[in-house]
């Protein structure tokens, strides 16, 4: 409990940069995480926040979006929680292959594929009262301190 950092932001796009700042500051404090992994996490968390904010906007909910960073022994976890209507991450439409000229009609739908690729584990817990996306990076052994 006491070991997590929690950040709650107004559900507005201009606050996502602050989330990135906090996540990268905490993650780069872990000497075992390479800069590239910090960038991966930053982008994944940013995408999850974008979705959370859009979920609030869609149903006109004015609650804040909550970001929780938690350091385990050899894991770094970030979860993003919203109070939107939820969705089924297992049944998202697929994009046409990139070689198909139709591909250019899809300007959206890249966020969740990015999240899945960038972090070592991701869990979606979604229901009528909101969604929680938990992203995990493996850190190897943590330095003393």
């Amino acid at each position: 409990m006491g070991e997590a950092v929690e950040l709650e932001i107004p559900a507005r796009p201009e606050y996502i940069a602050l989330v990135r700042l906090v996540v990268s500051s905490l993650a780069s404090g872990r000497r075992v995480l390479a800069d590239e992994r910090v960038d991966d996490l930053k982008l994944a968390v940013s995408e999850a926040c974008t979705n959370a904010i859009e979920a609030h906007t869609a149903v006109d909910v004015h609650d804040r979006v909550r970001v929780r960073c938690h350091e385990g022994d050899d894991r770094f976890h970030v979860s993003v929680d919203d109070r939107g209507e939820g969705f089924d991450p297992g049944s998202l439409p697929e994009h046409p292959p990139v070689t198909d000229p139709e591909r250019l009609n899809f300007e959206r739908g890249l966020g969740i594929p990015l999240i899945r690729t960038l972090v070592d584990e991701v869990a979606f817990d979604s229901g009528d009262d909101g969604t929680s996306v938990t992203m995990t990076l493996y850190c190897g052994r943590v330095g003393e301190d």
Partner: protein, 112 residues
């Protein structure tokens, strides 16, 4: 948060140099600028991403939208990018196959 958007011209190309973080908050400004250029008749656009610190899926979407718009005018949207962390985002999403990505503005203008 500031998004730098500077336009210069060279050999009939409009070169849009982007600086800062492109995310869901700032991407609309990039979209507007692209739309504006197209409506001014610039159909060969090079977007220089060397000054970009961060690019998310909304930013990718805006670039895909720009490319689509230009293709419909028989034009093209090419990119300049050598930063590993930005290239990685194009690679993961398969968009390296959709855009021509160059190492420098010189190379992009030269059509390499």
């Amino acid at each position: 948060m500031e998004l730098g958007l500077d336009v210069t011209e060279r050999n009939g190309y409009a070169i849009l140099a982007v600086r800062g973080e492109v995310d869901v908050y700032t991407a609309p400004r990039l979209r507007e600028r692209l739309v504006e250029l197209v409506s001014q008749g610039k159909h060969q656009i090079i977007v220089d991403l060397e000054g970009v610190d961060f690019l998310d899926s909304t930013g990718l979407g805006v670039l895909v939208g720009g490319l689509k718009r230009l293709r419909s005018h028989d034009g093209d949207l090419a990119l300049v990018c050598t930063q590993h962390r930005i290239l990685k985002v194009f690679e993961i999403t398969g968009l390296t196959k959709v855009f021509s990505i160059h190492d420098s503005v010189d190379a992009a203008v030269g059509g390499e």
